[in-house]
């Protein structure tokens, strides 16, 4: 029997006992549907994290700080007083300082093998932000490194090439500062105040060019976003009164490396940085935990779906056993006519695989429809606060993967009845005396 005829026969045999086949397909459908939805949930959430947090940095960059003895653990050190470090600068988190990088350090980092370029991150601590003599609000400054993106509610991101002072406000600042709407804020001038080393307060005016959306993990949080020109001016104002050789202190530096670097390459680079006394942290290091937790949850959900599929697999075994029983004589006849056992086995296991294919394909299609509908409803109601989140997203590769997995499970389930059919003795099958 030709392979194509074998497949054709298996497909047409599937529909011979319609009710039974439909019930079996239904049980597989439930498993495949659940699996598609849960994996869609994982894809959706992880996509969201990737999209919104890819703002945190490009994948070919890492943040480098100077390694301190209790680095990374603000609670370390027990009650003992920490030794004074003249190079310590605020890390932007209250109570936490990092040892500042000096221009010499930057040069050292630049010299490390694998480092393409270094962007030193200056620490700017403005006092307040104010619009039109209104209330003064505390503001912190965030900055985007090249390759970062932020989700804008209105306007555009500050242009680093512009010579004018440009700023993007977080959405939360719009109304308190006295603007009617996001659009209203665009083009207005706000005042930023900053105190220098000798306690003199400087005020600098900047134009609002954009309003940033507060996403689950916005790269700048509720920080205002400023362009290079404004950064330079604010830093100069802040450094007034500091001797020139001490002015250039950086809290961290962004190191760019080869975008094609493998995980091992990055690890090696981190090691070289560590040898030189620096700590490198990539975006993956920062996001790793979040995605790991989500992957863990999705894995548990998937496990439930697999359990449903296993139950469905027994349904296939049952259906095909009945089918083999009913068709005993037909099997005997085919064997008497010279059909080999292998072909008989193939016929029944293909039938199981086809049932698996039908169940999983229907399950996947309906899951895509239901998931897409559900996430669009949710994004307007329950999850309206998380713009850009598609709760259940589908990626073609994982859908194909699910269908193949279910077909594999169905095939395995089909092997038992198929083996029984293949073993059937034509004489016993045809006996009627």
């Amino acid at each position: 029997m030709k392979a194509l005829d074998l497949i054709g026969s298996a497909v047409s045999n599937t529909f011979r006992s319609k009710t039974r086949t439909i019930l079996t397909i239904l049980s597989i459908f439930i498993g495949a549907f659940t699996l598609a939805i849960t994996s869609g949930l994982g894809t959706g959430i992880n996509n969201y994290i990737d999209d919104t947090i890819s703002g945190v940095g490009a994948s070919d960059a890492m943040t480098v700080t100077k390694t301190t003895e209790n680095a990374g653990d603000p609670l370390a050190g027990g009650g003992e007083p920490a030794e004074y470090d003249p190079d310590a600068v605020s890390a932007g988190i209250p109570g936490m300082t990092v040892t500042a990088l000096t221009p010499d350090d930057i040069e050292t980092i630049e010299g490390i093998d694998g480092v393409l370029s270094v962007d030193a991150q200056r620490n700017i601590n403005p006092d307040f932000i104010q619009f039109d003599d209104g209330t003064q609000y505390v503001a912190s400054v965030g900055a985007l490194v090249a390759g970062q993106t932020t989700v804008l509610a209105d306007g555009s991101a500050p242009d680093d090439d512009a010579t004018e002072y440009e700023v993007a406000l977080p959405q939360a600042y719009v109304e308190p500062l006295g603007f009617d709407s996001d659009a209203d804020a665009i083009g207005q001038t706000v005042t930023i105040a900053i105190t220098d080393a000798v306690r003199t307060q400087h005020t600098i005016d900047a134009t609002v060019v954009g309003v940033t959306e507060e996403a689950l993990a916005s790269p700048t949080g509720s920080s205002i976003l400023i362009n290079t020109a404004l950064t330079d001016t604010l830093f100069d104002a802040q450094s007034t009164g500091i001797p020139a050789d001490e002015a250039d202190r950086y809290s961290s530096a962004t190191v760019w490396f080869d975008p094609d670097a493998s995980a091992d390459d990055i690890e090696a680079l981190k090691e070289r940085l560590a040898d030189a006394g620096f700590t490198g942290t990539t975006i993956d290091d920062q996001l790793g935990t979040i995605t790991t937790v989500i992957d863990g949850i999705v894995l548990v959900l998937n496990a439930f779906a697999i359990i449903a599929l296993l139950a469905a697999a027994f349904g296939i075994v049952n259906t095909l056993y009945m089918s083999v029983q009913e068709r005993t004589r037909e099997i005997g006849l085919m064997k008497a006519m010279g059909m080999g056992s292998g072909k008989v086995f193939g016929l029944f296991s293909l039938e199981a695989t086809f049932i698996g294919f039908l169940g999983s394909a229907i399950g996947a299609v309906i899951a895509i429809a239901a998931g897409t509908g559900l996430s669009s409803v949710l994004s307007q109601t329950l999850l309206a606060d998380l713009p850009g989140l598609t709760l259940i997203a589908f990626d073609p590769a994982s859908i194909v993967g699910i269908i193949l997995l279910v077909m594999a499970i169905a095939f395995l389930a089909g092997t038992l009845p198929a083996a029984r059919a293949a073993k059937a003795d034509p004489v016993d099958s045809l006996r009627y005396e």
Binding site: R16, A336, G338, M339, L430, Y432
Partner: protein
């Protein structure tokens, strides 16, 4: 003398062992020439069906040999055995063994499908076989919707479709009334006479057996009578 198409040499067949051992065949020997029509006669339980199964290579003898055109069937294994069954034999069973929900044409072309014949060629040969049995107009009907006589004619068409050398007919008229039974008998004997297909009929119907060239009578696993009559 030409080589017999089937030669049985001291064929034994037993089932079970020890206390439950049952000897279905206790040493049967005979030869069948190509183009003969043979009736295997015997009561229920006499071993005649076992003998047919062994001749049709559906079962192996416990001892003794079956030679198919001088080829010891013990040497046929796997794919070769399946090919031999497919090319050499056609089966007509009392119970028809049609696939009820498949079309008449699909039922008839099943042996060709198993042999791996292409779809177009299958249809052509299937229709030719149905034509021969005056069933061409029923080709698209479901097998389940046919009358008994029509079903048995479909079964004969199926047995014919791959031009077998030997047709085994196991109680071919058992499920039919005498009128349709007679029609089916006529068809079988016509095939035997005009196409030279060796016909082996297993039956307990004396009238049917009488129409055959030779009768092999089986009782309790032994061949008790081998009569050669003058061809009718």
């Amino acid at each position: 003398m030409s080589i017999p198409i089937i030669l049985a040499d001291d064929v034994h067949k037993s089932y079970g062992r020890g206390q439950t051992r049952f000897d279905a065949l206790k040493g049967v020997s005979f030869a069948i020439s190509e183009g003969e029509s043979i009736a295997i006669l015997g009561k229920s339980g006499s071993g005649k069906s076992t003998l047919m199964h062994i001749m049709a290579l559906l079962d192996a003898p416990s001892s003794g040999r079956i030679k198919l055109e001088n080829v010891d069937t013990r040497t046929l294994k796997g794919r070769r055995l399946n090919r031999t069954r497919n090319k050499t034999f056609g089966f007509v069973f009392q119970q028809f063994f049609l696939i009820p929900n498949a079309s008449v044409l699909d039922n008839v072309t099943l042996p060709l499908k198993i042999a791996g014949v292409g779809a177009a060629e299958r249809k052509r040969r299937g229709m030719a076989a149905l034509e021969q049995l005056e069933l061409a107009d029923k080709a698209k009907n479901k097998a389940i919707n046919l009358s008994g006589g029509q079903k048995q004619r479909v079964v004969i068409a199926r047995a014919l479709v791959n031009n077998p050398r030997i047709i085994f007919a196991d109680e071919p008229t058992g499920n039919l009334d005498s009128k349709t039974g007679a029609v089916v008998e006529d068809i079988l004997f016509e095939l035997n006479r005009e196409h030279g297909i060796t016909l082996i009929v297993v039956t307990h119907d004396e009238d049917l057996a009488a129409r055959c060239d030779r009768q092999l009578r089986i009782r309790d696993g032994l061949l008790i009578d081998d009569t050669t009559e003058v061809a009718a």
